[in-house]
């Protein structure tokens, strides 16, 4: 297995695959929804 070199990290462009787009989209969507839910919970059960 060739040793990685930092120069090769960006040398060949790899387009985003649909599964990567899904991973990014679902993660962000779930994250924002869950955060909103936690903010609501925080509102009704505030820290004292």
């Amino acid at each position: 297995m060739p040793k990685p070199d930092l120069r090769e990290a960006t040398s060949a462009y790899e387009p985003l695959l649909p599964i990567e787009k899904k991973l990014i989209g679902w993660s962000l969507g779930a994250g924002i929804a869950l955060l909103a839910l936690l903010v609501v919970v925080n509102h009704f059960v505030p820290l004292n």
Binding site: M1, P2, K3, P4, D5, L6, R7, E8, A9, T10, A12, Y13, E14, L16, L17, I19, E20, L23, I24, G25, S27, L28, A30, G31, I32, L34, L35, L38, V39, V41, N42, V45, P46, L47, N48
Partner: protein, 490 residues
């Protein structure tokens, strides 16, 4: 965090993982501390350092029962016992014991000397009353925990000005081992702190969930997208980099590298960048927090847990932030109970750590089934969740639960005996923190940033970290912790 991080040249294959060794040592310290509940003061000989103007008055054993040892005797005893115990740990980790003991001697001497210097009244005295007591007309007001910064700076000087010496120290420069032992001990300290305010404590736990969501589901996809689309990184580099910036730095980068079957050197190169940036954060963010958030201590503490990468650096930043904000508050006549800010930082960080195994499994599943499906190649298995679970957290949970049960369910909890016993263990926790700070400094060779190609990697990190990780972390900390103050000293 999961298993051992930056590779060391070991003499033999490790007999146990770093996590298990850390749990073992942390539990031994914890049990020895509990021994004092039965009348056996097994840790009272440990050295502590008070704020000083005359060096000869600074050191003393933590327990009066060992007063006859004197400061120098307790320092020597602490050094000898730590060298012996950690050399045994080095043996279990497959390291050369003689080489470790020699290197650890230098590490301990420099790290503890830094702690000692940090307790000098001109650096540490906080209130005008303190300054008058020590007869100093000015002070940097860093509290004696400013010694952490001195240790970090000492490590940085060695790494960047004396690289050959840094290399000789290498086998004892193990920040991950030291911080894991400290975190196991910290579990007991946090339990003692929380037992006094159980409602607040349980509410803090709920807020830990927000940290998981933020790190894995907000930070990770954005950093991955920036690395892939904005800077054109390949998947093999972008995924460990996203984990390094988003989750808990070094360990997350390595767990992700393993999950996506990246070449081992990829996450290691990413990790070296994580350490360098974590040091920069530790040196900057606590002072920003003190300047702008001294009236929102828990926001500042949560911010450290969310913004500073690697467990050691995050807890270090939490500790410094706690000292700086307590110092500023004390100057205004407000005395917060110690420990609460560090508790918030640790809670946030531990919650984030717990999820690493699950996230690594999700990535492994996607990579092996959709991105790099190879005939005959090993697929992701559910067992990877356990394999990558940071086991030292089990030690943290154990000391936390046992101490909480003792604090709430027995008379030793209410009598103050338990607090005193855990206080002795906490002295060792502080020493392990100092060793961690110094080690992080020694590992931070800034010349790496000039390596060809490193600039682009650093640019992703810089854009992500200071472009949104720090700010989103601040906003979320504010949403969940604004207006809540640590309990005051009664």
């Amino acid at each position: 965090m999961s298993e051992a991080i930056l590779p060391l040249r070991t003499a033999a294959p490790p007999r146990f993982s770093e996590d298990l060794v850390a749990v073992g040592l942390g539990l031994v310290v914890f049990l020895l501390a509990l021994g004092s509940l039965a009348g056996a003061d097994a840790l009272g000989w440990l050295v502590t350092t008070s704020v000083w103007t005359a060096p000869s008055t600074a050191l003393a054993p933590v327990s009066k029962a060992y007063a006859s040892l004197g400061g120098a005797g307790s320092l020597l005893a602490t050094y000898l016992v730590l060298t012996g115990v950690l050399s045994a740990a080095a043996y279990l980790l497959g390291d050369d014991v003689k080489r470790f003991a020699a290197a650890f001697t230098a590490v301990f001497v420099i790290a503890y000397a830094s702690w000692f210097v940090g307790s000098w009244a001109y650096l540490a005295a906080v209130t005008p009353a303190d300054q008058a007591k020590f007869g100093v007309s000015w002070s940097l007001k860093l509290t004696n925990e400013g010694g952490y910064i001195v240790a970090l700076l000492a490590g940085l000087v060695i790494a960047n000005a004396f690289p050959a010496f840094a290399e000789r120290l290498r086998s004892a420069v193990r920040p991950e081992l030291y911080i894991k032992i400290a975190i196991v001990i910290l579990g007991a300290f946090i339990a003692v702190t929380m037992a006094s305010k159980l409602t607040l404590a349980s509410s803090l736990m709920l807020r830990g969930l927000a940290a998981i969501v933020e790190a894995y589901l907000i930070y990770w996809p954005i950093v991955y997208l920036i690395a892939r689309k904005g800077f054109g990184f390949s998947r093999e580099w972008a995924a460990p980099l996203a984990s390094g910036v988003s989750i808990c730095g070094v360990a997350a980068a390595i767990a992700t590298g393993g999950a996506i079957r990246a070449r081992p050197q990829v996450p290691i190169l990413v990790s070296s960048l994580v350490v360098v940036f974590a040091v920069i954060e530790v040196l900057i963010l606590p002072f920003i927090a003190q300047t702008f958030m001294s009236h929102e201590p828990l926001v500042a503490a949560a911010w450290m847990g969310l913004a500073v990468k690697t467990d050691g650096a995050a807890l270090a930043a939490g500790g410094i932030t706690q000292s700086l904000i307590q110092a500023k508050a004390a100057a205004e006549g407000i005395a917060y109970q110690p420990g609460w800010m560090l508790t918030v930082t640790a809670t946030v960080k531990v919650f984030i750590d717990v999820f690493i195994g699950v996230w690594a499994f999700i990535l492994a599943y996607i990579w092996t089934n959709h991105i790099n499906p190879r005939a005959g190649a090993e697929k992701a298995k559910l067992g990877e969740i356990w394999e990558r679970f940071p086991k030292f957290i089990l030690g943290f949970v154990a000391t936390f639960l046992i101490t909480l049960a003792l604090a709430l369910g027995t008379t030793v909890g209410s009598s103050g005996q338990l607090t005193a016993a855990i206080g002795e263990a906490n002295v060792l926790r502080v020493i392990f923190f100092v060793l961690t700070f110094f080690s992080i400094g020694v590992m931070s060779n800034f010349r790496q940033l000039w390596q060809e190609g490193f600039g682009k990697l650093a640019a992703v990190y810089l854009v992500s970290l200071f472009g949104f990780v720090v700010w989103v972390g601040f906003v979320i900390s504010w949403l969940f912790f604004a207006g809540v103050k640590p309990p005051l000293v009664s």
